[in-house]
Amino acid sequence: MKSNKIFIFWCALFGLIVLITVFANLFSTYPVNEMNMDKVYMAPGDGHILGTDHLGRDVFTRLLHGGKVTLTVAFGSVLLSLVIGVMYGSVSGYVGGWVDSAMMRLLEALISIPSLIFVLAFQAVMQGGMWGMTFIIGVTGWFTTARIVRSEFIRLKEADYVKMARMFGTPIWRIITGHLLRNSVTPLFVVTIFNLAGAVFIEVSLSFLGIGIPPSIPSWGNMLYNAQNDLLIGAWWIGLFPGLLIFFTVLSINFIGEMLKDSRL
């Protein structure tokens, strides 16, 4: 009972963060990119509840809109890697034999390469906007998903109902979607949730370094791009609030994932 309440708490927190960023326009008090050179580096208070940044832009407003960008990238890329991972894992797990061993060898190699390296290689030539980033995180983040789908398929393939379905001539795609995928939903959901946390991390880290989303688009990572310098002149609020929001977002995602993982066992 107690853990149920905690679970609902984390879900509610994450839901709240998603809601306020989706409806950023309703809650924001200023236009996102409105600069006001008379009001640079204003401390939280009077009219700007979370202060203003080095261009006099409202931190609270940018926090909401930035969240929209960061979370869109995260959700979009996770969806993409889910699709790729499921396709790769399905083929490998269902076909089996030498196809499976070749595909697994390749996957093993891919897993042992830091995925951030592929992200860097892509960013060197693309450096697109929000969708470019989504694509890059998506195509470099499907390895664990594929491995889980494959191992679930291999386990489920031997189940009686699957053998039966095959005997009755059920088409392969229906066996895959109706039986194998359907019974792999829980582990797939768990790995996807953890991927979501990872995707948020990659976006904010790269944008912070200046090699992520272009500075013209507000994202949580971009808001932190100047935070190091801002901090040195005492403007702590510019770095603190986006960081806290990233922390609580990832924290709630991780807790949701952990609790789902435990309840499965």
Binding site: A109, I113, S115, I117, A121, L209, Q228
Partner: protein
């Protein structure tokens, strides 16, 4: 037999490096007109036509991508990584200056993560319902939810700006001449950021496997027979270390990815910072070199972990060697 096993592992490592180079090369070179000129180095205007012709022939720049990759591979295997597009110096020279810095940062961090997580995980796993046992999983989730660079910023604010205890960036103070303690002082914050964001996760993993071992029959039997607690501890640790090492091997690649961010934040002149910089200025040969060297380091660390597991796990030895 052992030789055969080592050979097999090495083949796997070479395969990883091959796939890494192939994919990175194609990602970077597939965009039209991107990188052909990059091979001329920073001083493309000053090169004579004959010089350009020679470089172009070496790297097959006017040929299809696959041929270019083949040429690149041939040159790389012989140790010629080309010239940095921005600095106009050989890539290998630049990498050589930086590799030890990364190894130092990652090595020190890894040492504290491994020893710290083993101590914490053992303690938590052996004492059920203690404060540590109950608190560790929350600590692990919380600490892995903090972006490393943000924790770093907070540290800089606290320890450099407010308390003035530690330098905020770089590898040595201005005017410092390779003083050992000066370097250590610069190392503390970046290493602490990496350790703090990782140690909880590994400790928790070990805690779980220690708990699993504690429930097994051999521990109960040993207890019943009055085997000393110290001996039980070492037996449990030994067995719990096997899945722990496996987990370490699985996560070590992301470790090197993470050092890109920490190195850049603290201006630690390592490979990660170099790669981030190369992305910014589109220095493809340099980025490619950094990627390959990082790949080699990862492959070697995985090999070391494999060997350790081989020593610790008699089942694995038996299966692989058949003795």
């Amino acid at each position: 037999m052992t030789v055969k096993w080592i050979g097999k592992r090495m083949m796997l490592g070479i395969l990883v490096l091959f796939i890494l180079s192939f994919l990175s090369f194609f990602i970077m070179h597939a965009s039209p007109g991107s990188s052909a000129t990059a091979y001329y180095g920073g001083n493309a205007q000053m090169l004579s036509a004959a010089e350009k012709e020679r470089i172009s022939r070496t790297f097959a720049l006017d040929r299809p991508l696959v041929v270019q990759y083949g040429a690149w591979l041939m040159e790389t295997v012989q140790g010629n990584l080309g010239m940095s597009a921005k600095e106009g110096r050989p890539v290998s020279a630049i990498l050589a200056e930086r590799v030890t810095n990364t190894l130092l940062l990652v090595g020190v961090s890894l040492f504290f993560i491994v020893t710290g997580s083993i101590l914490l995980g053992m303690e938590a796993g052996m004492k059920p319902n203690s404060l540590l046992d109950r608190g560790l999983s929350s600590f692990s989730i919380a600490s892995s939810s903090i972006p490393a660079f943000w924790l770093g910023i907070l540290f800089i604010y606290l320890f450099s700006l407010k308390l003035g205890l530690l330098p905020s960036s770089g590898m040595q103070s201005i005017g410092g001449n390779d003083d050992f303690f000066d370097k250590v002082r610069h190392l503390i914050m970046p290493a602490a950021v990496i350790v703090l964001t990782h140690v909880g996760v590994y400790a928790r993993f070990l805690q779980d496997s220690v708990k699993m071992e504690m429930r097994s029959y051999y521990v109960k039997t040993a207890r019943a027979n009055g085997v000393e607690e110290r001996e039980i501890r070492s037996g449990v640790l030994r067995n719990a270390l096997i899945p722990y090492l496996n987990y370490l091997g699985m996560t070590i690649p992301s470790f090197f990815g993470g050092s890109v961010i920490v190195e850049t934040l603290f201006s630690w002149a390592g490979l990660g910072q170099l790669m981030a910089k190369s992305v910014m200025v589109k220095d493809y040969p340099l980025l490619m070199g950094g990627i390959m060297l990082t790949g080699i380091i990862v492959v070697v660390s995985l090999f070391v972990i494999d060997v350790l597991m081989f020593i610790l796990d008699p089942k694995l030895r038996k299966r692989e060697l058949g003795v």
